[in-house]
Amino acid sequence: MSGFSLSTPQSAVTRSYRSQFDRLIRRMFWAFSALPLFLAVSILSALWVKSQPILVAHPLAELLLGSAWKPQRGEFGFLPFISGTIWVTVVALVIAVPVCLLTAIYLSEYASGRLQRLIKPLLDLLAAIPSVIYGVWGVLVIGPWVQHSIAPFLSQWSHIFPIFTATNPTGYSILAGGMVLAVMIAPFMIAIAYEVFQTVPLGLRQASLALGATRWQTVKYAVLPKAISGIVASLILGCSRALGETMAVLMVVGNVPQIPRSIFDAAYPLPALIANNYGEMMSIPLYDAALMTASLTLLVMVLGLNLFSILTLRHVLREKK
């Protein structure tokens, strides 16, 4: 009977063709998924190869911990740049984290739906502003503000907090860079933290509210602990963006290769070093390789931070379950 034609050899052939095609598609998708990993590895190895000349000539510790940057004399110490990167990033985080957390909490837990729908797109818009615009704004507004208002004000307490010592007559400083950077990473941090809060089930909030807890108690004891791992992830993501941000920071941070002691010192973060100097003064021996090593250092810092965050998150999540 024709009704049993499904089991004829012809249809078996069709099935095997379909499963072959399926396997092909599967391999193709695998290849595409592997592409990012391949890219990361190839970038890392290219930087590694290009930094070899200087790594052979100088021990790694001397490069990373050396504080003198005099390429003409063959002295390549990255410490000023590494510490500049860290200073600017830390200042940006100190400014951005509390503001972002409170904003995300407000938007997710207190604001009405209408307000949320109004403010969210505005925040996303902030994330779309090109970084050079932030840089110009930093030069025009933040720099003079730091120079004329913040530095004179905070330096009154410099005998208690040495990091407030006013050392720099211009506004081009770590604080200015950190402030611009804080504004730049805020939209990302807020957006991710908000999404994380939104994943906390409504029933959990209701459970707390039903016991007569206030909104704030509910946020503090029910929502935040449930969301903490995601919040940490959002902060670290913001942090790694801050580490790598180049344009806006180099426009306001002063770019002096020194180890900073105060937030009013000028600094010279790694990305600024690379962007300012690559393609120039290439006649100096080992200069090219030094910049590659700087890139490698930056990349390793960002990757290390992300790896650390992933491992921490996994640990936190496992502990909670």
Partner: protein, 253 residues
């Protein structure tokens, strides 16, 4: 039951979500220290009515309430009333348990702590007492400081019961509190509720008629946002006055 004042009462209560009316002119009484069950087909407004009783309705976007809900004669929607006090007086059992992200002990102690009871000794005592009332003590007494999320879902629901009782409410509100549980755990909860009605007024929403017949002392039947019939359970189940109630009870919809 004659002679006892209604514990809760609604007067001309209407609720809206935006322009949709979910409750229409609901006036009911909920007798003290009995199990009142709100029954009706899905979408009839049972859960909305329950949410009006502890002002949870205000957590919904665009929700609006008209009319009064009287708790011991006092309108809980009056502007001078503190909403946290209203909610403290009524424990909530949700459809599925939501243990707070903390230990078993801290879950039960949570309500006490937010209402400013701090003494270690009193906390220990209260936690044990309410876990016993909820029928969970024997199962968890050796691991009070483990995360509550490690419990089975039936145990979690009993934990939520203990957590709710710990703030010493007068009323227990349950929104289909056994619907996510296996039959044995559901039976556990039902047995607790029957014990608890001696001291608490219990209001349950249920779409399981058999459960309503087992538990209810007083029944409110709703349809399309209106209360069709309300009265003592034996009366409503055996001698329904309204055509719709009869149809629903015989399983026609």
């Amino acid at each position: 039951m004659s002679g006892t004042l209604p514990h809760l009462e609604t007067q001309n209560l209407s609720a809206y979500y935006g322009t949709t009316q979910a409750l229409e002119d609901v006036s009911i009484v909920i007798p003290r220290h009995q199990i009142t069950m709100i029954i009706g087909p899905s979408g009839c407004g049972k859960t909305t009515l329950l949410k009006c009783l502890n002002r949870f309705i205000e957590l919904e976007e665009n929700a609006r309430v008209e009319g009064k809900v009287l708790l011991d004669g006092e309108n809980i929607y009056s502007p001078t009333v503190d909403v946290t006090e209203v909610r403290k007086k009524s424990g909530l059992l949700a459809q599925r348990p939501y243990p707070l992200p903390m230990s078993i002990f801290d879950n039960v102690a949570y309500g006490l702590r937010i209402h400013r009871l701090r003494s270690r000794h009193e906390l220990n005592q209260a936690v044990q007492q309410y876990l016993q009332v909820a029928g969970l003590w024997e199962e968890v007494k050796d691991r009070l400081h483990c995360p509550a999320s490690q419990l089975s879902i039936g145990q979690q629901q009993r934990l939520c019961l203990a957590r709710g009782l710990a703030v010493e409410p007068e009323i227990i509100l349950g929104d289909e509190p056994t619907s996510a549980l296996d039959p044995v755990s559901a039976q556990h909860i039902e047995r607790r509720l029957i014990e608890l009605k001696e001291r608490y007024t219990i209001v349950l929403v249920s779409h399981i008629l058999r459960q309503a017949r087992r538990l209810a002392d007083y029944v409110i039947f709703m349809y399309m946002g209106k209360v069709i019939e309300a009265g003592p359970a034996h009366q409503v189940f055996n001698y329904p006055q309204h055509e719709r109630t009869r149809a629903y009870l015989s399983g026609e919809f």
